[in-house]
């Protein structure tokens, strides 16, 4: 219907404040008496911490206090699912990003200067800088995990070994990915304000998951959860990165706020942010894929080893997504996908847009191209033979009979927009003429489980608060955070539709944990699905309250009551929504409700690694066109197309914005982003954006195209699933497929990033060393 707010490109509610600079980010906050914090990093990545010397620093001018792990009054460790992370290390250091002390001073410069005077005695331990070293070592990084394995998910369907024996053609080989930094524009900044009356802290700043942060601060600083109030500031991007990273800052600054009674701000420099914040998991894949001569996939066997780094963080659920979504959107009877995370002394790894799947899709889709070449099929021909459709069973055993399984039309749309089939043939032909700059195209597909999935069975919940005020305006408090993706605008559109009122009536409160009920975090591509469900439930409850009041007022049945287009209609009554609201207040009633949505229990057999791993799925395809200079290894991205079925696009302009961003992020991961990890010392060399190379505006093609293939999902309150992660998921895979096509050799590039040296070396190897 024309007047409904969903599906409209409504201007985002924070757009003007952001482009004019009025929006206040964490580091913009200034308060009377504000203290500034500076952390002191571990000098060794793996060492017993014997003694920390803070006396000299404490004497420096402007310094108000210096804290160490010993000062933490509550539990020393925090964490979301696994409590093993230290905001301030106590017993030993586990990686170069561990902090041994924090200095607080009147100015940032004074804090910085004093922090240089803190030093410590260490007893060095062997550095386990790769998963292989950690698996072979007797030394445990975390004593609770003596073999250094902290997560394992093993998906099994059918019999992969037998399936491979039946296959006519098999490809096998290894694919590897590296650490990837989130590279949000705004480095983490947290400000903690102590209450003047009681032991209470208010936390402002860049917090992606405020309710998790509240628990971590409460746990470590011994404060009741209700007395930790989190109000995220305007956040400059997160991509999963400002969860535990913001929490450790909040614990450190909170400790200082409690000790001094003064507000404390802790802002990381870019170098500090890259040093201590967690990354995308590097994963090594050993993959075997078998098919019949006609191209029918018969078996897939994958061993994946992810580097968890120094803390468990989100590694086990990341491995869950690698193993359950790594097999792709294919019809395949025999699957054995074993994903294991291993603790090392590297920077820890955790939530990052895609959560273990962009790596897996890169590996799988390049193996698919290898298979296609062996079968003498094109990449699209092979995929067409095997992509899922309505009524099929997913690689994990999920019967897909509840929504439109659109991956086929998603792929066709992307392929058509890029001209994939024509270009695939044309470039293969023209590249034979000896030219040194060759073009290629690649395509990659994925299916993404919406929200957490069965490893979160029973606790995948969202809650929302809706209040109708006497003038008919609608206040919404929802704990899902605006990270730059446009959540507040989209959720407002859903409230408007749920309440049957115009968008302008909706006042979407800034997230505040003391106002909005506890909700799961804005993670896992869950906010549209989960937030929408909670808002729908709250709308229904508020409508029920209003109906009851109106029934009393008019003395007429309201069984047929409809709230739509700012009107309330029942029996022969037709009044404005404003009037209905006024009546509620005039009769001293309360049109307020909290809505709850919980994902239904999924039938997943954890032991067998089989069943329904997710409630519903988003289908995605990225297609890429590149040119490769054989003489330099330089790759130029000519164009990328991203097509997604996210159910229903709540706000199509914002959805397209996410796709543009996702394509750019995939390009960085595929081609240039490299933290310069040292496999002996575990140190990272590239700690800022001069050295860690994200794509610039000149690198990302103006010609990139976002496409939508909408099929509203009956399992979602407003038909929408989320797109945060799918938007980047298959991109790196598509780009490497394109490079390998340009080089005329599927599977040639097997490791990310495909930078100058790696592509050049691959070309040399291909050309027999005589480049």
């Amino acid at each position: 219907m024309e007047t409904l707010p969903i599906g409209k490109p409504i201007e985002r509610i924070d757009a003007r404040a952001k482009v004019t600079g009025r929006a206040e980010y964490g580091a913009d906050i200034r308060l009377p008496g504000l203290l500034y914090c500076k952390g002191v990093y571990a000098a060794h990545p793996h060492a017993k911490l014997l003694k920390v010397y803070t006396e000299e620093a404490a004497k420096m001018s402007g310094v108000v206090c210096v804290v160490t792990g010993a000062d933490i009054p509550g539990e020393k460790m925090f964490g979301e699912l696994y409590v093993d992370q230290y905001a301030l290390v106590c017993d030993k250091t586990r990686f170069y990003g561990d902090v041994i002390a924090v200095v607080a001073a009147e100015t940032q410069e004074q804090a910085d200067a004093a922090a240089e005077l803190v030093h410590a005695d260490y007893e060095e331990l062997p550095i386990l800088a790769t998963p292989k070293m950690a698996l072979e070592s007797d030394i445990a990084i975390n004593a609770d995990y003596p073999d250094n394995i902290c997560g394992n998910v093993h998906v099994r369907k059918g019999n992969a070994a037998a399936g491979l024996q039946e296959a006519d053609v098999i490809v096998s080989g290894t694919y590897k990915t590296g650490f990837v930094e989130h590279a949000y524009i705004e480095p983490e900044s947290v400000t903690v304000i102590p209450d003047r009356i009681r032991r209470e802290l208010t936390v402002l700043g860049s917090a992606q998951a405020p309710y998790n942060l509240r628990l971590s601060v409460a746990r470590t600083l011994n404060i009741p959860v209700a007395q930790v109030i989190v109000k995220p500031s305007v956040i400059g991007g997160s991509f999963g990165g400002k969860i535990e990273s913001a929490e450790s800052l909040a614990v450190r600054a909170g400790l200082i706020a409690l000790k001094t009674g003064r507000p404390a701000q802790y802002t990381l420099t870019r170098e500090e942010s890259i040093r201590e914040s967690y990354k995308r998991h590097p994963i090594d894949f050993d993959i075997q894929l078998g098919a019949k001569q006609d191209g029918t996939l018969v078996a897939m066997k994958v061993e994946a080893i992810g580097d968890a780094g120094a803390y468990i963080n989100m590694s086990p659920p990341v491995m869950y997504k690698t193993a359950t979504l790594g097999p792709g959107p294919y019809r395949i009877e025999n699957v054995d996908y074993n994903a294991t995370s291993v603790m090392t002394n590297n920077v820890h790894t955790g939530s990052m847009r895609g959560f273990g799947t962009p790596q897996a899709i890169f590996a799988l889709e390049n193996a698919m191209d290898e298979l296609a070449a062996k079968l003498n099929l094109t990449p699209t021909e092979l995929r067409r033979k095997n992509l899922l459709q309505n009524g099929d069973v997913s690689p994990c055993g999920h019967l897909l009979d509840f929504h439109e399984v659109s991956i086929r039309s998603v792929m066709e749309k992307a392929a058509q927009e890029l001209g994939f089939d024509e270009k695939f043939a044309q470039y293969a032909q023209e590249n034979k003429d000896g030219r040194r700059i060759r073009r290629g195209v690649g395509i990659a597909v994925s299916m993404r489980g919406a929200s957490i999935g069965a490893d979160g069975n029973g606790f995948d919940v969202a809650r929302a608060f809706i209040e109708v005020l006497e003038d008919g305006s609608v206040n919404v408090d929802l704990g899902l955070t605006e990270l730059g993706q446009g959540l507040r605008t989209c959720q407002s559109q859903m409230v408007a539709e749920g309440m049957g009122v115009s968008f302008e009536r909706i006042s979407f409160g800034n997230t505040d944990t003391s106002r909005a009920p506890a909700t799961g975090a804005c993670i896992a591509s869950r906010s549209t699905l989960l937030g929408g469900g909670a808002l729908k439930d709250a709308s229904r409850k508020v409508h029920a309250i209003m109906a009851r009041v109106l029934e009393r007022k008019f003395n007429k049945p309201t069984d047929d009551i409809v709230f739509a287009e700012d009107r309330v209609r029942f029996a022969d009554v037709d009044i404005s929504f404003t009037e209905a609201a006024k009546i509620c207040y005039a009769l001293c009633e309360t049109p307020i409700a909290v809505g709850t949505y919980v994902v239904p229990k999924l039938n997943w057999n954890e032991h067998e690694g089989f069943g329904e791993p997710f409630y519903t799925y988003t289908y995605s395809c990225h297609a890429a066109e590149v040119s490769v200079d054989l003489d330099t290894g330089s790759v130029d991205v000519i164009r990328m197309v991203g097509c997604h079925d996210m159910g229903r696009a709540i706000n199509p302009v914002l959805v397209k914005g996410q796709i543009y961003g996702g394509l750019a992020m995939a390009q960085g991961m595929a081609l240039t982003e490299d933290l310069g990890h040292n496999a002996k010392t575990s140190a990272l060399k590239n700690l800022n954006f001069e050295d860690y190379l994200i794509p610039t505006v000149l690198d990302v093609p103006d010609e990139n195209v976002p496409l939508l293939d909408e099929h509203p999902d009956p399992r979602s309150a407003f038909g929408g699933r989320s797109l945060g992660e799918p938007a980047t998921e298959p991109g790196a895979g598509a780009l490497i497929c394109a490079i390998n096509h340009a080089l005329g050799h599927p599977g040639l590039i097997r490791e990310l990033p495909a930078d100058l040296d790696r592509v050049f070396a691959a070309v040399r190897a291909m050309e027999g060393g005589d480049a």
Binding site: R436, G633, T672, F689, L693, P695, T696, L698, L756, A771
Partner: protein, 287 residues
């Protein structure tokens, strides 16, 4: 930024006077796109006097002088990129300056600062080399002119004393019909530290015979270098594919010879050879 003392003279004479009276340890600030970034790590200027010469009017001119173009040390990369004179008579330098950093950096960074910082990856250096650049240095009022290669000693180290002020850079004006080429290989298209640059200057007479030829690489050697032996390989010839090949072999062979065998050699040497071949074939394409 932390420093012992800071002064901002408004004329060249005031700057020289400031250098005369300053205590030991002076650093000139000529834009700050390197210096201010370096100031963030450690305390490199805590014991130094900073004399800010950015924008001194005497250092901001581009002029023709006999066979040369004199470029003030305070001229920005953007000004060079946009100078009609440089584009016509020393185009390779304009092309090189266009590849520096980003518009924000180019609008602020100066050619004199680029030389004095002596980064081996500085994009202007290879272009200045093929233009046979000379650097005018003023030491407390005494002026001398030194070839570029004698100013830079090794990465991030010059032969200048802390009382030396680079005032102008002289580049040879090229005759009409001279072909220029500048190639930059970076890991991305902007804000990229050069992996390698290649600057070429080529002049042929009406019959196609090479009269003047310089070709060298940047971000490859410890200091700016020209190779007479390589350049002479084409002089007086109407180059054939074989000649091009020989230049490519000779020039790329300089990499292990001068820079030593390093982890990057396996990449840089073959890439250099291929790109020299490609550039010369392109420039000589009319043959």
């Amino acid at each position: 930024m932390e420093c012992r003392e800071y002064s901002k003279p408004t004329t060249l004479q005031e700057a020289i006077d400031a250098l005369k009276t300053a205590e030991d340890g002076v650093k000139l600030l000529a834009g700050g796109t390197d210096l201010l970034v370096n100031a963030r790590e450690g305390h490199p200027y805590r014991e130094l006097t900073i004399v800010d010469i950015y924008g001194l009017p005497e250092l901001c001119r581009i002029e023709e002088m006999d066979g040369w173009i004199a470029i003030g040390a305070g001229v920005t990369h953007t000004q060079i990129e946009q100078s009609a004179l440089i584009r016509e008579k020393a185009g390779v330098l304009a092309d090189a300056c266009r590849t520096v950093g980003s518009p924000q950096i180019r609008n602020h960074s100066t050619i004199g600062g680029n030389i004095a910082n002596a980064s081996p990856a500085a994009d202007s250096l290879a272009a200045l080399s093929v233009l046979e650049a000379e650097v005018e240095v003023n030491r407390l009022g005494e002026v001398r002119r030194v070839p570029l290669g004698d100013i830079i000693e090794k990465p991030y180290r010059t032969t200048l004393s802390d009382r030396d002020l680079i005032t102008r850079i002289f580049v040879k004006k090229a005759d009409a019909g001279t072909q220029f080429h500048f190639y930059k290989l970076g890991r991305r298209k902007a804000l990229a530290i050069s992996r390698m640059t290649i600057a070429t200057l080529l002049k042929r007479d009406g019959s196609g015979k090479v009269e003047r030829f310089h070709m060298t690489m940047g971000a490859t050697f410890p200091k700016p270098m020209l190779f007479e032996d390589v350049d002479n390989m084409l002089i007086g010839k109407r180059p054939t594919a074989k000649d091009i090949q020989a230049v490519a072999d000779a020039l790329s062979a300089k990499i292990p010879l001068i820079a030593g065998i390093r982890p990057s050699t396996a990449y840089k040497q073959p890439v250099c050879k291929k790109m020299v071949e490609r550039i010369l074939s392109e420039l000589l394409g009319g043959q």
